[in-house]
């Protein structure tokens, strides 16, 4: 194309096998999903084998490790519990992330069918499907997540910017100043002393 006649001629054409090896992202509409399927029951076995040591037998999370299930209707509460079931807007993200980056420390070791089964099990752990539910490349994109409508695009320009623009107060800005919170009361800062 003439527009690129003056390019640098650097790099070389990527081969289809190379693109296939690295381009694994999956979009909300299912683009990028490989053919495959798996049911929640099978997923439970794989999950127990490869995931439960951190995420718990029921995807409830162990210790400080992420909880993948629970937390429905907590997003407007004091300590919201954000899980795949309570928070994630698209199921594609769960498939994509597990496929590319889990298990933690042994990423990219799962077969496509294993990922389908495991995602089905996570849905089951969130009480969103029965244990015989089969997830596949055919039905994944159509699965409606509970919090699918829970997101808005960054609106700071409208909701904040207009409030906090302009010449600020310089003198007599408030009558009194009282300490309302102190970090030393919490006492959770690491000891930064260098014992000499």
């Amino acid at each position: 194309a003439p527009a690129y006649a003056d390019n640098f001629g650097l790099g070389r054409e990527a081969l289809p096998e190379e693109i296939a090896a690295w381009d694994k992202d999956v979009s909300p509409d299912g683009t990028g999903l490989p053919v495959g399927s798996g049911d929640a029951y099978t997923g439970e076995e794989i999950f127990a084998d490869k995931c439960a040591v951190c995420h718990g037998d029921f995807a409830e999370g162990l210790g400080n490790w992420p909880k993948l299930a629970g937390g429905r209707d907590t997003l407007d509460r004091e300590d919201p519990l954000k899980t795949v079931g309570s928070y994630w807007p698209h199921l594609s993200t769960a498939w994509d992330y597990i496929n590319r980056s889990m298990p933690y420390g042994d990423a990219q070791s799962l077969e496509a069918d294993e990922v389908y089964a495991m995602v089905a099990y996570i849905l089951y752990s969130n009480d969103l499907v029965d244990d015989d539910f089969v997830l596949s490349n055919e039905n994944l994109a159509d699965f409606e997540m509970p919090n699918a409508d829970g997101f808005i695009i960054d609106d700071r320009i409208e909701t904040e910017f207009s409030k906090w623009v302009g010449e600020p107060c310089m003198e007599n800005c408030k009558d009194n100043v009282e300490v309302t919170m102190r970090a030393l009361v919490l006492d959770v800062t690491p000891d930064v002393a260098t014992d000499e």
Partner: protein
């Protein structure tokens, strides 16, 4: 757990401070550091072959990154903090510039490095590291601030030190190739109307850290960077190549970048759905909160940098930055926001880069409630934490740019507090 650090640091400093104040007025006895020949004034120092690549002198051993164990489940997907309380100027030394990894700092040789551009391009391409060095380069100084910087402070004053409350940030001079150059090398005719296109970028590490960036930004000022502060990127900062996304949240600065895909829409990856979305009080969440708003912090005095010299001349110093352009002004209050004085910028603010400010003042030895307030070229004034919470509630996790208060006591010690 933490009564040790500030207490000990303070006491050490106070003792020295007393001596200095006395000495400053007048000396009664001659100072042996002057009147006696010191070993360094007589014998040899190190030869030039002793230190092929140097580290700071041992007396600066506390100017280091620090970890806060309880913040994360392990140290592999975790964060550490830049010692901003001890630094000055604006350039962050790479060796103590904060790290944030999701599956650790990987080792990737230049020889093993590959960068792929695919998707809606005329020619999908693979570049070697050597290829990248043959494109025309640019140099720019930008801050990289983690979206979660100051995030632990949403619910109140928690960590006691500027390093911990504001240290998920560094500021470097980057050398690299505009992303635009590489996209044009692959050709964008196939993509058609670019206004609704996106690029998806991901790293070579196990976490991949994939993020979607609108094409407008990708063609504007995003850099494929391979040098920082004059030398190769550090391993932990993405060696040999990282993405630099001026003004935008640090998560998008994909390290060890291996692939760029031109797409019709955003992937809505884990790092832009589960994470890096900001939950509001009503339970809905903002997504694609890319820009980091105007922010500032007094780095000294601060809890890790108490006043040790007694009354008299005092340099109040700090950093200001904004992802929406350049800092034009910083105001400082010593009384918790009742009155403000405009500080002096060490240099005019640069776009999407840290700006150093100073307020040269006299300290009367009374307690202070120190605050700083940044203003950027859009006219935006850094809000208080109360103002932020009124809009967002307490559960946003990310993007806390509220005004910080340090309570400086009469003894010079400082504490992280919130005030009415």
């Amino acid at each position: 757990m933490s009564n040790g650090p500030s207490r000990r640091t303070f006491l050490r400093g106070a003792a020295a401070g007393t001596a200095l104040v006395a000495g400053a007025a007048h000396a009664n006895t001659p100072d042996p550091l002057i009147t006696e020949v010191q070993p360094w004034a007589s014998g040899f120092g190190d030869g030039v072959d002793v230190t092929p690549y140097g580290l700071p002198i041992e007396y600066e051993a506390d100017v280091i990154r620090r970890n806060v164990e309880w913040l994360t489940a392990d140290t592999i997907s975790s964060i550490n903090f830049t010692p901003i309380h001890a630094l000055d100027g604006t350039i962050t030394p790479q060796g103590c510039a904060f790290e944030r990894h999701h599956s650790g700092a990987i080792e990737l040789r230049k020889e093993d490095y590959r960068l792929m551009i695919n998707g809606l391009v005329d020619r999908p391409l693979v570049f070697s590291y050597a290829d990248l060095e043959r494109f025309p380069r640019e140099n720019h100084v930008y801050f990289c601030e983690c979206a979660a910087n100051t995030g632990m402070e949403w619910a109140g004053a928690q960590l006691n030190g500027a390093q911990f409350t504001h240290g998920m940030i560094h500021n470097m001079e980057y050398t690299g190739v505009p992303l635009r150059t590489l996209l044009e090398e692959a050709g964008l005719d196939t993509a058609g109307d670019l206004s609704d296109k996106w690029v998806f970028v991901e790293g070579a590490d196990a976490s991949s850290n994939g993020r979607s960036i609108p094409m407008e930004k990708a063609l504007d000022d995003v850099l494929i960077a391979f040098k920082a502060n004059g030398e190769a990127l550090r391993k932990e900062h993405g060696y040999p190549v990282r993405l630099v996304v001026p003004g935008w949240e640090g998560n998008m600065w994909v390290k060890w970048i291996r692939r760029i895909e031109v797409m019709d829409g955003p992937v809505e990856s884990r790092e832009e759905t589960s994470k890096y979305t900001d939950t509001l009080e009503d339970g809905t969440s903002r997504k694609w909160t890319w820009a980091m708003d105007a922010k500032s912090v007094v780095t000294s005095p601060s809890p890790q940098s108490p006043i040790t010299h007694g009354k008299g001349p005092l340099v109040i110093s700090g950093l200001a930055w904004t992802g929406r352009g350049a800092i034009t002004r910083v105001d400082v209050s010593k009384d918790g926001g009742k009155t403000w004085e405009t500080a002096r910028l060490a240099k005019p603010g640069e776009k999407m880069a840290l700006t150093r400010f100073y307020l040269d003042t006299e300290w009367d030895g009374e307690e202070m409630f120190l605050q700083s307030r940044a203003i950027d070229e859009t006219g935006y004034v850094q809000p208080t934490k109360t103002q932020l919470r009124e809009v967002r509630g307490l559960n946003s996790i990310y993007h806390n740019n509220g005004i910080q208060t340090w309570w400086v006591r009469a003894n010079g010690e400082a504490e992280n507090v919130e005030v009415s």
